[in-house]
């Protein structure tokens, strides 16, 4: 592969600008209006779930929520470009990507509700457990793809991470392993500008994060992370390359974290409203609605139905989370090993006895 083919363009790929106008690019195919309408519905749902989760935190129903508000195009695109049997490796900020992949919203929120460390069966929708330690899941994605090739499985693995994670050693090792073994992995870095409070300029001196690809002999691509059309095009190309034996691609999506890191963070301590304001106009939903409406692909009725559907999902999520099903203390011991050790059996018995005594005392 020629070195120039590995470098990203000087400007991010964009197909629909923030005013909702088309920018045809003969190197990247514009998705169909039907595809983008489907994507728009998913963006509306993703936004609604982000807002619902914020409300549930305020009500004390979720322990914490790292919102992807503003990044929904990346979240939705990551799920949309994958085939049914392909795998997604998400981080803690990718709950709505997990839901877009088909995971039941309540199961996706078990982690943040504090009931357990993960609430869904990874094998059901081909989604790995959300990873909290940064960049570690990228190596799992690479190993998973390596195993898939050994097993003769025709799958692609898409791994998510943020800009801060690109400074971790595991990011380097994952990209290096993927390139050396020429594996079908797409790395999608959502560059939202911040690692909690630390801005991108403290993470890298590279011209872009996508430029890191060439250091591994890997294609690097830079894309407007708030443009669903461009994301679907660029990620779709990367997935197709991977599936055709073309090896891995690093995609950097330029986006912005509109909310604080989590509800426990206060972004006003490290960034100004002047900085945030322009990003409101770059919102991924607004531009797509404008474009679809202009194309005649979205009627006011369609839009209302998309919002009504999102409202129904949010209401179901709300009522599921409000139902206080107590997690089982026995689960603490049940899954540490395939078969509990004698020591864990003793400790489980001790806790059971303590609980029985406490119950007796309150009777």
């Amino acid at each position: 592969m020629h070195a120039d083919d590995l470098l990203p363009g000087d400007t991010p790929v964009g197909l629909i600008d923030q005013e909702g106008a088309s920018h045809p690019d003969d190197r990247h195919r514009m998705p169909t209006a039907d595809t983008l309408l489907d994507g728009y519905r998913q963006l509306v749902l993703a936004r609604r779930i982000n807002d619902q989760a914020d409300a549930l935190v305020r009500q004390g129903r979720l322990a914490v929520y790292p919102s992807s508000h503003g990044q929904e195009a990346c979240e939705v695109a990551a799920a949309m470009v994958l085939g049914e049997q392909d795998w997604l490796f998400p981080t803690y900020r990718d709950t709505v990507a997990v839901i877009a992949r088909g995971v039941d919203p309540f199961e996706a929120f078990v982690l943040l509700r504090g009931d357990w460390h993960s609430g869904y069966d990874p094998h059901e929708h081909y989604v790995a457990p959300q990873s909290t330690p940064l960049a570690t899941q990228l190596l799992h994605a690479v190993g998973f793809a390596h195993a898939a090739r050994m097993r003769g499985e025709d799958i692609v693995v898409l791994a998510l991470c943020g800009d801060g994670a690109t400074s971790e050693g595991d990011f380097h090792e994952a990209l290096n392993f993927a390139a050396v073994f020429h594996l079908p992995v797409v790395f999608l870095v959502q560059n939202n500008g911040y690692a909690i409070s630390v801005p991108l300029r403290r993470q890298t001196a590279a011209p872009s994060l996508a430029h890191k690809g060439i250091g591994y002999g890997m294609r690097g691509r830079l894309v407007d992370g708030n443009d669903l059309a461009a994301l679907l095009a660029v990620l779709g190309e990367a997935v197709a390359e991977a599936r055709d034996g073309g090896g891995p691609t690093l995609v950097e999506a330029l986006t912005y974290r509109m909310k604080s890191h989590t509800n426990a963070d206060d972004a006003t301590r490290y960034r100004t409203d002047d900085e945030v304001e322009p990003w409101r106009a770059r919102d991924p939903l607004l531009r797509l609605r404008t474009w679809l409406t202009a194309e005649g692909a979205l009627t006011p009725g369609d839009d209302a139905e998309a919002h009504a559907h999102a409202e129904r999902v949010a209401a179901d999520l709300r009522s599921a989370i409000m139902t206080d099903a107590e997690p089982r203390p026995d689960d603490l011991f049940a899954h540490v090993y395939a078969s509990p050790t004698p020591q864990l059996r003793e400790q489980a018995a001790q806790l059971a006895a303590e609980r029985a005594a406490a119950q007796e005392a309150t009777r």
Partner: protein, 344 residues
């Protein structure tokens, strides 16, 4: 480096073999070879494990026999090795990875503690990780700094990890086969000073149960509790004590996690005296845990406090000072002498 050893590994025969005398290194090689031959999901990788056969030759001949898809070299990156092993195990494989030396495994520590140990628990058993991390460990070979660490405490302290260490070539073969077949991740600690010790290996023998200690020597006066590289020291001490008329039993733990309280406590309750022997620094160590467990569970049978003979609380000694650092027979016998015999 003086650490390289050119012991030829035995190429596995296809016929049912008779018990043979093998080094521990050969027994481990045989276990990997037999696992690769019988289970297509087994895959071996690490640094220099391919054509070279590993710096200790444990993987000698495996790439030639099974191809480089089944036994291969990776980029030089321990977190990458363990992290990709996690991903492979998530997708139905049984990876067996080699960390070249104990202290070179530390870059993989985050992967081991955050994911290897927790994936089965996090997913409520829906995604268990049947992988093995092989680590040549501990001293006794005159290794320079970072080639002789006793790192077991880091692993045994982490719930979700199974930690074993063989002492005999027979157990090296059996425990490694058992570890590869195990449903959970296993940290497999190989006492590198015993790589070239020989013993009879019967590959047809039933595999040892992970979690069961071995009574290495019966004894009636006191019980020496040891594992890995310290078991031969304990056996030598028991032999020397026997010449002086004292009968010392020796327990070879084999499995640090799960810990075999039953075998250990049965032995200690019978003798009433116990000495724990381990190379690692004693502070907050596996030896400390064993002493505490025995004291809690055998208190009314004890005739003396449980004693520990361990490495000093210093970084591992340079080669020329190693002999002062490592527990030896005299230090074990001194500890046995201090078990309040005059009170009996």
């Amino acid at each position: 480096m003086t650490l390289m050893h050119d012991a030829p590994a035995e190429r596995p025969a296809d016929a049912v073999p008779a018990p043979a005398t093998l080094t521990m290194a050969q027994a481990l090689n045989r276990a990997l070879s037999d696992a690769l031959a019988t289970d297509p999901s087994v895959v071996v990788f690490g640094e220099d494990v391919g054509p070279l056969g590993g710096v200790f030759r444990i993987t000698d001949g495996l790439t030639a026999r099974f191809g480089e898809d089944r036994c291969f070299d990776t980029p030089l990156a321990e977190a990458g090795i363990v992290g990709t092993a996690v991903g492979m195990a998530m997708n139905g494989m049984r990876p067996v990875v080699e960390m070249q030396f104990d202290a070179f495994a530390y870059p993989a520590f985050e992967q081991i503690v955050d994911h290897v140990a927790k994936m089965g628990n996090r997913t409520k058993g829906r995604m268990r990780l049947p992988l093995v991390v092989r680590i040549p460990y501990a001293g006794g070979i005159g290794g320079v700094e970072h080639h002789s660490d006793s790192s077991e405490a880091y692993y045994v302290h982490t719930p979700g990890l199974t930690v074993v260490s063989p002492t005999t070539p027979q157990d090296a073969y059996g425990l490694l086969r058992a570890a590869i077949a195990h449903p959970d991740p296993v940290i497999f600690l190989e006492p590198k000073k015993l790589y070239w010790a020989t013993g009879e290996v019967d590959v047809q023998a039933p595999l040892p149960e992970i979690g069961r200690a071995r009574v290495a020597r019966e004894g009636t006066d006191a019980t020496l509790i040891a594992y890995g590289p310290s078991v031969p020291v304990a056996l030598a001490a028991a032999e020397a004590a026997a010449e002086e008329g004292r009968s010392l039993g020796v327990i070879d733990l084999r499995s640090l996690v799960p810990f075999d309280d039953e075998t250990v406590c049965t032995a200690v309750r019978a003798t009433g005296r116990a000495v724990v022997i381990a190379e690692a620094p004693g502070f907050a160590s596996m030896a400390a845990e064993i002493a505490a467990r025995v004291s809690e569970r055998c208190f009314h049978h004890l005739l003396a406090p449980v004693r520990r003979v361990t490495g000093f609380d210093t970084p591992f000694a340079p080669p020329k000072l190693e002999k002062f650092y490592l527990p030896d027979v005299d230090r074990v016998l001194d500890a046995v002498d201090a078990l309040q015999w005059e009170d009996a």
